[in-house]
């Protein structure tokens, strides 16, 4: 078996952070792979919810969109989108929300709206979608993003969703009772907010990755935890399940009848 790619490590690390008792609000891409990998390995009881209204989905193939038919067919039930956002997300029923973004800052605030000024953007990104309320209302948030100096920036062009604001007890001062981002899982390391300052701190490095390599792909001077273990490497079983999932998915989306 070929060794895990950095993206695969990211997915496996995210999957391992999930438990059978979790109720996850799943996004597309890495989150969907991580959540379904968890479901197919150590967390068979996990509840996956997609913002299209599907509750308790068990897809055999990763969806391309949050509303693929596969999600609905394999769900316990499917509710309307107003109900999904009002009763289930705002209702406080979600234990873990997943987010990513084009830009992240040291307090895990995210930008998926614009690069450049809002009124005359250099790049118009898709926008917030479910993110602003996922970030505020899930019990905790996991962020998955690849490292890079254009993504890990000192200052966001636009705050699409709130992480820890300006740090410290900023979330609490805004009236939020949820934990916000509790880990940022990248292709090189895992970061967690400092318990006090809430500044993102590298808490483990993936196998073969150095501090310098990580710092080179981050636009602000990184803090590193005093104890800096190697991120546990993906097991053969996990990789096998993940690769089979991606293979089924590619076959299905490229249009050959699955």
């Amino acid at each position: 078996m070929t060794p895990a790619t950095p993206t695969e490590v990211m997915t496996v690390v995210a999957a391992r952070a999930l438990r059978s008792s979790d109720v996850c609000f799943v996004g597309i891409g890495a989150p969907s792979a991580a959540c379904n990998l968890a479901r197919l390995t150590h967390a068979p009881g996990i509840t996956l919810i997609y913002e299209s209204g599907t509750i308790g989905t068990e897809p055999q193939v990763l969806p391309l969109s949050i509303g693929d038919g596969e999600l609905c067919e394999t769900a316990l039930t499917t509710v309307s989108v107003p109900e999904m956002f009002r009763y289930w997300l705002q209702g406080g029923r979600i234990t873990v929300g997943f987010l990513g973004g084009a830009q992240i800052d040291r307090f895990a605030n995210l930008n998926t709206t614009v690069v450049g000024p809002y009124a005359r953007p250099k790049v118009r990104l898709p926008g917030g979608g479910g993110a602003p309320e996922i970030a505020a209302l899930c019990q905790q948030v996991f962020i998955t993003m690849s490292l890079g100096a254009r993504a890990f920036v000192p200052m966001l062009d636009f705050i699409t969703s709130l992480g820890h604001g300006t740090g410290g007890d900023h979330r609490a001062r805004l009236g939020l009772t949820t934990r916000g981002p509790t880990r940022v899982i990248t292709d090189g390391c895992v970061l967690e907010p400092d318990p006090e300052t809430k500044e993102l701190t590298v808490t483990s490095l993936h196998e073969g990755v150095t501090r310098e390599q990580v710092q080179a792909k981050c636009g602000w001077p990184l803090r590193f935890a005093p104890q800096l273990p190697t991120t546990p490497t993906p097991g053969a079983g996990e990789l096998e399940v993940l690769r089979a999932l991606h293979e089924r998915t590619d076959r299905a989306h490229r249009g050959s009848p699955s």
Binding site: G69, P82, P126, G127, G130, P132, L137, I159
Partner: protein, 280 residues
């Protein structure tokens, strides 16, 4: 009897300058109706849709829209909507005004519109920048707890257009699967147009709580098999994910886009286009 051919219904119900919602959350997106709007060269529309998707990329690229209300404007799982970006970044083919919200806000705004309330309340927009650039995002104080909560104006479009699985002979319409915000969007609108896969004599045995829009809530029902392609209709045909992936290349370049629209929409009918769908 609400049944009408699609071109007649579009002509009668959608006018230049209207606010037009076309909903369907990934599932049941009314592509055929949008193509008819393009063929009829409707102009100056304010378009409303949570997820603009390829359907609005096409409308915006063809210059139909002067404004857009939305909450997530990407090609799901693929990347950018290049025509939307070109309109926002370079005003091509014309400038477009954005009224941008979050999903939670627009879902609540649809709920409020259907409920005939002037605004919706939500626990939303805490600590983020969107309220700084969209003056439609405001707040109220809870009269019991004193908490501040975000508000969004109810959505009340001139016309809502949706696609659904089937109608019965009386013109009642049934939807199932990912039902999104379609019921709310129909009930919130002044006029409502529904395209359906087929007409059945009677819905027959069904869930006692099936999602059904009574005929008297609709202005027109148009039978358009495949009317949601390349989106999908649960039980009829699958989402054409390969087309969503291919759209990235088609839409990236202005000329390629225009050639594609001419060859596949302007010079064609709804039937021609829908022929590409794959049965579920």
């Amino acid at each position: 009897m609400p049944f009408q051919p699609l071109p007649d219904a579009i002509r009668a119900l959608v006018h230049d300058g209207d606010t037009v919602a076309m909903e369907g959350f990934t599932h049941l997106i009314p592509f055929a109706a949008a193509h008819e709007l393009i063929r009829q060269q409707r102009r100056e529309l304010t378009l409303v849709r949570m997820t603009p998707d390829l359907i609005f990329d096409q409308l915006i690229g063809m210059g139909v829209a002067k404004a857009l209300t939305f909450s997530w404007g990407g090609n799901p799982g693929v990347g950018s909507l290049h025509r939307l970006r070109d309109a926002v970044e370079h005003q091509w083919p014309r400038p477009i005004t954005l009224d941008e919200h979050s999903h939670a806000a627009l879902a609540s705004a649809w709920d409020a519109g259907a409920a005939n309330l002037p605004f919706a309340v939500l626990r939303g927009y805490v600590g983020v920048d969107l309220p700084k650039v969209n003056p439609a995002i405001r707040s109220v104080t809870c009269p019991y707890t004193g908490e501040q909560l975000a508000t969004v104006p109810a959505l009340r479009p001139d016309v809502t257009v949706i696609h659904a699985q089937r109608a019965d002979r009386a013109g009642n319409v049934l939807l199932e699967g990912i039902i999104g915000v379609q019921k709310q969007a129909v009930l919130a609108a002044k006029r409502a147009l529904v395209t359906v896969e087929e007409v059945v004599d009677d819905f027959g045995p069904r869930s006692l709580n099936a999602t059904i829009l009574p005929a008297w809530t609709l202005s027109a029902v148009c039978v358009v098999p495949g009317g949601a392609f390349p989106s999908y209709a649960q039980g009829y045909y699958r989402r054409d994910n390969a087309f969503y992936l291919a759209w990235d290349e088609i839409a990236r370049d202005r000329d390629t886009f225009l050639r594609w629209m001419t060859a596949n929409v302007l010079d064609k009918t709804a039937e021609d286009f829908a022929r590409h769908r794959r049965v579920a």
